[in-house]
Subunit: 715 residues, 2 copies
């Protein structure tokens, strides 16, 4: 169906009126859409507005209700049921959708974990969450006991050491305090890093087991009232989650770099380098208290104190011993992505990919199904446009990922399977995960998409403030700044992409420009049985208005990218951000007397050249859009898409070849948070001058490749 066929007299007159308005100088300010010819901008605005009128609280709420009826951990029957629901909903909107199955290595607890205090007294400790009055699903019989994805099985009894957040500097502090970790069970608290880092660092220090608890200082009563009185973690709640070493490589542990499909050879489990070998177990703070309170040994070093009402000690003596027995059922299990597609018209082989995972540790109302609900509303909205005659220029792909919780498995396997095609075709990947936990918008993305993200959030109304989402976001950022920062205020910051969600394979394995965003809030029930429909209805998004806003932003972003004449990619922001990263890193190098170990000048020149070409291609893009030069635009668009690809170095990062992006990757010891200019920065942290030199050379090469790509696009 052609767009023109709907051009009735009424729309014709409307179009005429718009063309007249277009001629007035005021128009350009209010109706211009970056990357669209003046004529197409009018249409674009119309479709976007029509799209945004579709997502509704009632249907968003209903999606979430259905998706969160049962615990639906990856690979289970209930997980499969949600895949079918998503597929069928999308099909009902007129969007072609299918399941894609992989067989991947997953563990479930075979029997619930045994945790027992041996001394000072003998006492069984709970590894379950309790029923909460008022929350109907909290008594669901199928709620999984507390366990960690990819924990090893094991049965260990040993004295306990409290190691704070379980990061390398915490172990340094323990060493200074004369506390030996080898042969002990460490208890660490959640926070400040991905939990897989905690497991690895514990194992590397010779611990025989690792207990991870949620301290009330971090997401319990010290943050606010606890569930069900408030949104924060109650004493009986623990945080499930994967302890895969995803900073090494994510996805199926047995098929690194390749899809988990028939015909691909699998590693033996003992060969997988992203799996811990010690038992790891999450517990609640009411339970942790029984272990922490009687600990002796030195009083904790600075920063170790948490929110339980006593002075924390680090232990390491024989006064407190526990037994930890984990019994894991590891198998190859099926998982199911749902992949849906709206084919593009003239640019069918250019893809805009939207993704959100679907599997949850329990009910997953926030994480991830608020995102799934928003995706279905995007689908419903675009379906509505299709019915009205709209067709995207570029192909739009919807992905409902499975097994993200275990290690981004659904997205990684798909990206590994379609790597060749994605490298050629993917314009951008737009991720949502825990989309709505409150009303505070936040975003991360590659810098080339900052301007676009800001532009799109200007189009969507914040349900609470009535201003635009952009304005509310800026206002909040401004409030959080110090007086001094306010005086020199710029725009609200868009963060760097680290890891912990499904943009990782797109950006960091293939070099596809990616975004992530969410409405955050007071969310203390992460990865617990209380991340439920009831919680969302009461605290996260009563009224479901922010689910609607999330769908509106996501869909508008999709429409801009799918339909643009000249893609709104701005590499000047990218150049400036790389320059800022580099300056900061050079400053650190200075403090470590490593400032002469690398070629600072070469990097600065590379950035300058990159910035120059960024400006030139931007000017070329603007000109080509104005003059509607199709062929020129095609070349420019491809250059803008492929410049990001140039940051990929096929040799991969040092010691973890799966990660190939030279600017963005998760830090080895953060796991979630990005460590920009990754290997260069790591070399400085390691005080390794040779590595610093080599890593920076690779980065310089990457920046130069990107520069050449931009240059070729507009010359």
């Amino acid at each position: 169906m052609q767009t023109g066929s709907h051009c009735t007299m009424r729309t014709f007159l409307s179009l005429l009126l718009q063309l007249l308005i277009l001629a007035s100088p005021a128009f350009a300010q209010t109706t211009a859409v970056d990357g669209f010819t003046a004529r197409r901008a009018v249409d674009q605005r119309k479709w976007e507005e029509q799209f945004r009128a579709v997502p509704a609280p009632k249907s968003a709420r209903e999606h979430l209700r259905v998706l969160t009826l049962e615990p639906h951990m990856a690979g289970t029957k209930e997980d499969y049921d949600t895949a079918i629901y998503v597929r069928d909903q999308l099909r009902s909107y007129g969007i072609a959708a299918d399941l894609r199955e992989y067989k991947v290595w997953l563990n479930y607890p075979n029997t619930p974990t045994v945790l027992e205090l041996i001394t000072t007294k003998r006492q069984k400790l709970s590894t379950f969450e309790t029923v909460v009055s008022g929350d109907p699903t909290s008594s669901h019989p199928k709620i999984t006991p507390l366990f960690n994805g990819y924990s090893a099985s094991g049965d260990v009894t040993a004295p306990v050491v409290y190691a704070n957040y379980g990061l390398p500097n915490d172990y340094d502090d323990l060493k200074k305090a004369g506390v030996e970790v080898k042969g002990k069970i460490v208890i660490v608290r959640y926070g400040n890093s991905f939990r897989g880092v905690k497991a690895k660092v514990a194992q590397d220090h010779g611990a025989v087991g690792c207990i991870i608890y949620s301290d009330p200082a971090d997401d319990g009563y010290m943050q606010g009232d606890v569930y069900p009185k408030g949104p924060w973690r109650p004493g009986a709640s623990g945080q499930r989650g994967s302890v895969q070493y995803l900073f090494d490589y994510p996805g199926d542990p047995l098929t690194p770099g390749r899809p988990a499909i028939d015909g691909v050879p699998r590693l033996k489990p003992e060969e997988a380098t992203d799996l811990t070998r010690i038992p790891v177990q999450p517990i609640a703070y009411d339970v942790a208290r029984s272990i922490l309170a009687p600990l002796k040994g030195p009083v904790r070093p600075r920063g170790f104190q948490g929110g339980l009402p006593f002075a924390y000690h680090v232990g390491g003596t024989n006064d407190v011993k526990v037994r930890l027995k984990t019994d894991m059922d590891y198998k190859l299990r099926p998982i199911w992505n749902v992949i849906a597609r709206i084919d593009g018209t003239d640019l069918k082989d250019r893809w805009v990919v939207l993704g959100n995972h679907r599997d949850a540790w329990v009910f997953g109302a926030v994480d991830p199904n608020s995102g799934t609900s928003a995706m279905l509303e995007v689908g419903r909205g675009l379906g509505e446009l299709l019915k009205r005659g709209w067709k995207p220029r570029r192909t739009i792909v919807f992905c409902s990922w499975d097994a993200e919780e275990y290690g981004l498995i659904g997205s990684v396997e798909w990206v590994e399977e379609l790597a060749g095609e994605l490298k050629e075709k993917a314009v951008a990947y737009l991720n949502l995960d825990a989309a709505v936990a409150g009303n505070q918008f936040g975003a991360s993305s590659v810098p080339s998409l900052w301007k676009l993200m800001r532009a799109v959030t200007r189009e969507v109304k914040d349900p609470k403030t009535g201003k635009s989402v952009y304005q509310s976001w800026q206002d909040r950022a401004r409030e959080q700044r110090s007086e001094e920062e306010r005086a020199t205020a710029g725009e609200a910051r868009i963060g760097a992409l680290g890891s912990g969600s499904d943009y990782t394979p797109f950006l960091q394995h293939l070099g596809i420009a990616s975004t992530d965003m969410s409405f955050g809030g007071d969310y203390g029930v992460y990865h617990s049985a209380y991340d439920s429909f009831y919680w969302m209805d009461r605290f996260g998004d009563p009224g479901f208005f922010y689910h609607v806003a999330a769908a509106q932003i996501w869909g508008t972003l999709t429409l801009r990218l799918a339909d643009a004449d000249g893609l709104s990619f701005d590499y000047t922001d990218y150049a400036n951000e790389i320059r800022a990263f580099f300056r900061e890193t050079v400053r650190i190098a200075g403090h470590r007397n490593l400032a002469t170990s690398f070629d600072e000048k070469a990097m600065n020149e590379a950035i300058d050249d990159f910035a120059k070409e960024a400006e030139r291609i931007e000017k070329a893009r603007q000109d080509a859009v104005k003059s509607s030069e199709r062929e020129k635009l095609a070349r420019i668009n491809d250059a803008l898409m492929k410049a990001e690809r140039q940051f990929i170095d096929e040799r991969g990062l040092r010691g973890r070849a799966w990660y190939k992006h030279q600017i963005y990757a998760p830090g080895f010891y953060t796991g979630y948070a990005a460590q920009p200019l990754t290997d260069f920065r790591q070399a400085l942290d390691d005080r390794n001058a040779a590595n610093a030199k080599e890593s920076l050379e690779r980065i310089v090469e990457a920046v130069k490749r990107a520069t050449r790509t931009l240059k070729a696009g507009h010359e």
Copy 2:
């Protein structure tokens, strides 16, 4: 007795040897003493070393034991007994000592305070501290119940509002949360300001009563193990203390600016502007918990959460009401300073004044009697030198202050009585208060004495590290710096003098160069019955080595100042510090769009001129010392002494005329902490351009006066 009369053949030979060493180039480095001619430096070193050999753990311990046998609140029989002990000890060392009595307005609790929960349930709450096993004095029958010095009497019943630290911005936060304070009883926590500020701000906001509790996050279990297991505040401990508005004026409330002696007219108590009119009461955190836990109303704003194990709410609803009844016995009561003196030889009318208070809320092992013990050891050491023939050039005055705890009363009355003489004669005032609570040296002083303080701490060995106190202090400061700060590291910072101890009348009322210092540590029992000899023996200074070190530093500083040929006052540091204060304040003015409201250039020029004269007089001093020009040195020394006096503006600070120093005063809302360039900074905080202009003009005048004084001293 003349020094020469002890010159036996042996000392003559020793002197000859020293003179020979003096001729070698290596000598100057190791034996030179700033401000002393080469010949006198040899003597000086000898006397200093002999002095430092005297203070001993055994006698320091015995002083403290005797001083802390009984609670000795100002004006009591037991307080008088400690005065006699100090006087008689000093006399026994050969130092003339006498009592000086004043009659001042003091309150004791007539009957113990009644604190009662009315709703949600009726419950009497304790205003006593409990007996602690192991600490023999904790069961002393005369321990005063918890009360605040200068609380009003009152009997109020009202709903409770939790107001965090009770500072203006906390009330702003409450207002934003829609919580009304008028007519309520506020409960606030100790910390971040002098407690009198909390009382005043509560009263100014219409509260009818004010309860101040010690939160476990601030000095209880979240800092470490609680007493008697560790040094931190246990759940049953409260912090006594004065709620006088000492930021308005300190000293006897009824005789502001004048001594509380016969013949001086007294205000009526209702005329005293430094007294609160509402009942104020300190309580322990075990008791505060009963009030805070049931509070409803909004969840606390950011920063309000303390260390009790629940989410704090701010209250303000009728759910929690308490009754607070304070019954104070106000009277004119006698207090006793002990004043002792070693007359100088050729400069008898130049005084070096040492001071430390003696009165305590209960036993006061740390606060203040660790300082009293150190002072007695200084006296014993100097007494020993006197016996060996030493005589100071300048007069040394020892002051054991009374009623400091109520509002620096002993020192303020004495300074007010001797103001004329002190202005003429006082070279410096050297304060100690809570001298030893651990092993971490810290100091505050006017910048002109920084170099001297650093030099003196180089001479004293740190008992724990075996390095000099200076080196240990630098090492610790370095450890606490970030990597970046370390890369640009200077010396350990000497703080600014605010208020809260007896240097205030000397520096801020008269302009006498002052210092303060202490060995700090994990000290959670401040102003409680557990600040006891047992606590000190077990946690604060087991072995009493740091009492000895404190006496060694204090005495060496005294010897340097008392005997110097050319006083080690460095006004270059002072000029640099004023410049830094001004830059920082201008920066703040910029953020508030007040940068054009004052004459920045005039101030910068005044500072530049001051810096130039500082350099010149320093050169003149060095030259005059080298050439032993007595008359020139007398003029230079007097200029160095009197330059500080020029920072006094007799009109006083805005709205609080007692405070006259233009550079240093406590902030109106800090109470303890200094707010440099006080009125200028306050005007910026008030966003009052006219005040900012006028205040800075006064500061410029003061700096110019100081410049002229320095200039006149060396020309």
